[in-house]
Amino acid sequence: MTREPPTLQFDHVVREFAGGVRAVDGVTLSLAPGSFTAVIGPSGCGKTTLLRLAAGLDSTTAGRVDAGDMSGSRSVCFQDPRLLPWRRVVDNVALPLELAGVPRARRHASALDVLQAAGLAHASRMLPSQLSGGMRMRVALARALVTKPQVLLLDEPCSAVDEFTRMQLDAEILRTWRACGATTMLVTHSVSEAVWLADRVVVMARGRVHADHVVRVERAARERGGVAFIGEVEHCMRLLAAASGAASGEEAA
């Protein structure tokens, strides 16, 4: 029985740190159920903080984050794979189920399933140290999928790998999203990645949302070298530059 994924709702969210620094300064966003939203922005714009608030790793100073009813699960993928080095791949992937109390045979089978779907079945008995960086990220993605999440949060998952591996991982992310249909939020500093993966690109700067743009190219038509695609990327980059400029303009003022 599949449940509907929830709306991921940010309601005038503020996150202030010691010293009065406002990493998130009044963000109101509503991510539609099952949608794929990319959040981009210059370093320090608060996108990662926003994601962590959605993940429950941090709490708001003001405002509310609503990730739907808590019966569904939230999965997070970080910049680094965060695999337990002494466990084999299959046991790493099964970890969330293990902590949820799923019996051994069942969680083992579920883990093998997602590894199979990711084309990693051959690596199931390997240790993380025996895998390349890219493969480890794919294992981390598989782990995020094993709980059939309703909300999927990705915090710059591809920033630590090379360009080619990034493209492979992007394909994997797309497949993952399609497999679980979760409401997905991707934080990235790669504009082309954002455009290729997401329905909607949100531009942040200085803790605020500066632009909110729906990607106008059909998914089927998104070829990285294609004219339409490049046009979208350039449009988003202009939005990004404007946001950064406006932000520094505010600083100067």
């Binding site: 790793l57 970080f78 080095p85 002494w86």
Partner: protein, 267 residues
């Protein structure tokens, strides 16, 4: 270079070093004519080892037993206590400084006191070995569990794991390499502790461990036997250290060393 040749090379150089030291020592003694009770030649020591081999072997067994049992007690106590202290921050703040005091008190000074509470012979050797070996294990365990990768910690918190489950599935396995390091240090110290305990209350006569053999030989001006017994004490230390190192290597070889290398590759 193939593996066997590398292995031979690894042993050959230290052996050569030892041979040079022994040779110089032998020649030096022979040429200077120094009295044997002040500095015996290596040949005299070897002869003493051979002539008293039965007595020395039995003594070595006793010292090894005291050190091994004391080490095991310290290892178990250190890991248990260290884990409890690492798990509860309040305990860490209050007990860890006390543990450092434990290390500062020299066992040589405390041993006569211990004698009042513990039986002579093997129990004393075990107790003083355990006391000396405890702190390295304790400190290493606490440090290992306190230095868990924060990213992994966060991951488990995210999955809703309780503090206890986090400890069992993450902190404890993570700390194994650090604990192993502490155990290796403790192994050598345990032998020293056992011998000190023997100095104070080891059995004499036919039940003598190496510590008593050393004392009796000193009294008898049999310096060659003193050296022989001291050398065997070192052997016991090496053996215990080697055994602990082997077990440690078996536990972590698949993931730890390569984990270190892997993080270097990624940079």
């Amino acid at each position: 270079m193939n593996a066997p040749a590398a292995g031979v090379r690894a042993i050959a150089w230290p052996l050569l070093g030892v041979a040079i030291v022994l040779g110089t020592w032998q020649i030096g003694v022979m040429m200077s004519g120094v009295a044997p009770y002040l500095l015996p030649a290596p040949t005299a020591i070897a002869r003493a080892m051979w002539e008293s081999r039965d007595m020395l072997a039995a003594a070595m067994g006793r010292t090894a037993l005291g050190a091994a049992v004391g080490f095991t007690c310290a290892a178990v106590a250190g890991i248990l206590l260290g884990s409890v202290i690492a798990l509860i921050p309040l305990l860490r703040r209050s007990l860890y400084p006390l543990a450092t005091v434990l290390q500062m008190v020299p066992v040589v000074a405390v041993a006569p006191l211990l004698q009042l509470w513990v039986d002579n012979g093997l129990p004393m050797a075990i107790l003083s070995a355990a006391i000396v070996a405890l702190f390295p294990v304790l400190a290493a365990t606490i440090d290992g569990q306190a230095s868990v990768d924060p990213g992994l910690r966060e991951l488990l918190k995210l999955y809703g794991a309780s503090a206890l489950r986090r400890w069992w599935k993450l902190d404890f396995p993570w700390s194994v390499p650090a604990t192993v390091t502490g155990l290796r240090i403790a192994a050598g110290l345990a032998v020293i502790g056992a011998v000190v305990g023997e100095f104070v209350s080891g059995y004499g006569g036919t039940r003598a461990p190496l510590g008593i053999v050393i004392q009796a030989a000193m009294r008898d001006a049999r310096t060659d036997l003193v050296f022989a017994a001291v050398a065997l004490t070192t052997v016991v230390g090496f053996a215990l250290f080697g055994a602990v190192s082997l077990v440690g290597w078996l536990l972590v070889r698949r993931w730890h060393a390569s984990a270190v290398n892997e993080s270097e590759d990624r940079r």
